[in-house]
């Protein structure tokens, strides 16, 4: 094997041809020994190996050629690679990064990850949609049941809420009235009526009726609107009144739901309270604060729900009622009284 440090500056072709001549071989003789076409050897000697038709074989030819003239085939191939890379570097790089990127972005990991991400976002959206819908119902329904009965002394911090409720009520009345009319009118006027109502509470109806959708869908929405409004509107007709008065620091609230049984609550802290009477009508649903004194007149049995039961003392028809046994771990209590 010849010294390679000396030959480093020369090209592969010149190294090989020099070694060949040193051993006294002609190109033809080399070609005969390797069973190659003489032109291939000419190309290699002239550093024009790219002219050989099958590039995959060139390195093999170089190796066998080098072996024949007693050179190290691996070193020659290494040098050939280094020489070949220099001019074609940019092209090769562009191609290689492209394929790598393509493989990377079509890999199973990437695909699965993408699908998983989309599914996760979808589920998140669904959960958010439904939970936000629930909250709306919760905030509007109990207040609209009770607040319309307020006669006096509206609490100042509840003022804006009350206004809102009144508009809501008005709107729902309109829906009710509109839906009664609808029965005798044709479908087109249903759409108009729904639009005219500009109902804030049922936004979906509005958005649907203003866009061209099928009549069946519209009808279904209106039916839904009728049902929801009917529930909300019928309640204020119940014959019970709320009376609030402030004496010293104690607020006395009396709710008269038209019955002979009396429930009395004394609040020593904040507690949410819901009471249903014998007919299943919600008589009271509000947050009681410290110092409140609540009296409910109605017909037993009552169904009562406490949000924070330890903060309330209850008496039924003048008799103290022990809540302790009903309080659950999360401080709530659910009970029936006067069965």
């Amino acid at each position: 094997m010849t010294d390679t440090t000396e030959t480093d500056t020369r090209t592969v072709g010149s190294i090989l041809s020099a070694a060949r001549e040193a051993r006294g071989f002609s190109q033809k003789e080399i070609a005969d020994q390797l069973y190659l076409t003489p032109s291939f050897i000419e190309f290699i000697d002239a550093d024009e190996a790219f002219k050989i038709p099958k590039q995959a074989f060139v390195k093999g030819y170089l190796r066998t050629y080098a072996k024949l003239v007693n050179l190290n085939g691996d070193l020659i191939v290494e040098k050939f690679n280094a020489d070949a890379e220099q001019p074609a570097e940019i092209e090769v790089k562009a191609e290689s990064t492209d394929t790598v990127a393509a493989i990377y972005f079509t890999g199973p990991v990437f695909k699965t990850g993408l699908i998983g991400l989309v599914t996760f976002i979808f589920v998140l959206l669904i959960v958010w949609y439904f939970s936000s819908g629930d909250e709306q119902d919760n905030t509007i329904a109990p207040v609209s049941l009770v607040e319309p009965q307020l006669n006096q002394e509206p609490q100042p911090n509840k003022q804006p809420q009350q206004n809102e409720i009144q508009t809501l009520q008005l709107a729902s009345h309109q829906v009710n009235a509109g839906s009664e009319k609808n029965a005798s009118e044709n479908e087109n006027s249903i759409a108009l009526e729904a639009e005219g109502n500009a109902n804030e509470m049922i936004e979906t109806v509005n958005s649907l009726s203003s866009t061209p959708v099928s009549m069946e869908a519209l009808k279904a929405q209106l039916l839904l609107a009728q049902q929801t409004s009917a529930v909300n509107v019928s309640l204020p007709d119940e014959p019970f009144s709320v009376n609030r008065e402030l004496r010293d620091t104690t607020q006395y609230i009396t709710v008269d739901a038209g019955g002979s049984d009396e429930l009395r609550f004394v609040f020593s802290g904040e507690c949410w309270l819901e009471i249903e009477d014998a007919e299943g009508t919600q008589v009271y649903a509000d947050l009681g604060t410290e110092g409140n004194n609540l009296t409910i007149l109605g017909s037993a049995p009552f169904k009562i729900l406490f949000g924070n039961a330890p903060a309330v003392a209850m008496s039924f028809n003048g008799q103290a009622y022990a809540l302790k046994s009903h309080i659950s771990n999360d401080r709530t209590a659910k009970l029936r009284v006067g069965i």
Binding site: P53, F57, G60, Y61, P108
Partner: protein, 346 residues
């Protein structure tokens, strides 16, 4: 479902399940495992358990006590012992995924001998699946070797690959991603070793082990008369005296020893050339045939084949790992392009 999930944490593998050595190529990592296909089985009151796999097991070959047997589960390129092969693959796949917490479930590409029957292919597929693979594809060994050697397999040009493995020599003519003609002879590196052992017994009257025979082949083995004659000192047990003796062998003696297996390979290559369609034969005559596999590292083998066939013969770069690398490349092509036609689906 869980297999798929686990698959995200495992790498795609290309396994060259050879008679002598098993190589595993991992995508983006290269060859990560190169171990002999040997399993040592411990037999305790008919309760069989795996004692060692791979290199550890190979060290036990011929040195085992009565209750341990070191076996090669593959023979002539196909599975000879189904359960042991499964255990071995399980061990290798686990070894490749050493640092992952989740049990691996990789996609595996296995190269099989061209001449393998449906039953043998199925056996390989089943054993790889029971070793924990998620998906198994089979590829013809010469095809993988050709891809690994960087040959233009997808072009309408004939190329001949001679893959000399441990147990078999595969000769295939490839064109347009397909094997046009294939032949395999059950001669490979192991047969070379056996021939050397037999020769030494005949001429020196001494018995040498497989490992020594392999060392002789690697160090001074040649297939063609060389100008420089190499020598090696070896020790073997003298058959007549029964004691270990040291003696010297030279490369010409080994050349003589290897004549018989080499002639089988040469005849097979000639036979393949005869049966190659003329257009492809013309292509091969122009560009030559390519040697891959560990056997092609035998000195002068390319010269021998070139002289015998009158065709240019080249040895692929890094011939030992050609098949495994080619399989890995095939996996990459598969990912880029979906399914590819050179994978056998059964």
């Amino acid at each position: 479902m869980f297999k798929k999930l686990r698959g995200m944490f495992s790498n795609d593998l290309s396994i060259d399940l050879g008679t002598a050595n098993t190589l595993i190529y991992v995508r983006d990592q290269g060859i990560v495992l190169n171990e002999p296909s040997v399993v040592a089985i411990r037999n305790n009151n008919n309760q069989k358990s795996v004692a060692a796999v791979g290199i550890d097991a190979k060290r036990m070959l011929g040195r085992t006590p009565g209750n341990i047997t070191a076996t090669r589960p593959l023979k002539d390129g196909v599975i000879a012992n189904f359960q042991v092969t499964e255990k071995m693959l399980q061990h290798f796949i686990k070894k490749v995924h050493e640092n992952s917490i989740i049990r691996p479930s990789p996609r595996v590409l296995v190269s099989v001998v061209c001449q393998a029957t449906e039953v043998e292919r199925r056996a390989i597929r089943e054993s790889v699946i029971s070793a924990g693979a998620r998906d198994v594809r089979l590829i013809d060994e010469p095809m993988a070797a050709a891809i690994g050697a960087g040959l233009p397999v997808h072009e309408a040009v004939g190329t001949m690959v001679v893959d000399i493995g441990g147990g078999t020599t595969e000769i295939a003519v490839i064109s347009l991603n397909g094997v046009v003609y294939a032949q395999s002879v059950r001669v490979g590196g192991d047969r070379f070793d056996e021939s050397i052992t037999a020769y030494v017994r005949r001429t020196q009257g001494s018995l040498i082990g497989d490992a020594t025979a392999e060392r002789i082949k690697q160090e001074i083995g040649t297939a063609f008369i060389c100008e420089e004659v190499r020598e090696i000192d070896v020790r073997g047990r003298n058959l007549a005296e029964g004691v270990p003796r040291s003696f010297t062998l030279n490369s010409n003696e080994i050349l003589e020893a290897l004549q018989e297996p080499l002639s089988v390979i040469v005849q097979a290559v000639k036979g393949a050339l005869e049966k190659t369609p003329p257009e492809l034969a013309a292509d091969i005559a122009e560009s030559g045939l390519v040697l891959t596999g560990g056997g092609s590292l035998l000195r002068g083998l390319d010269r021998l084949l070139a002289d015998e066939t009158g065709l240019p013969v080249i040895v692929a770069e890094d011939p030992l790992t050609c098949v495994a690398r080619g399989g890995g490349r095939a996996l990459e092509i598969m990912d880029g392009r979906g399914d590819i036609d050179f994978l056998t689906s059964y």
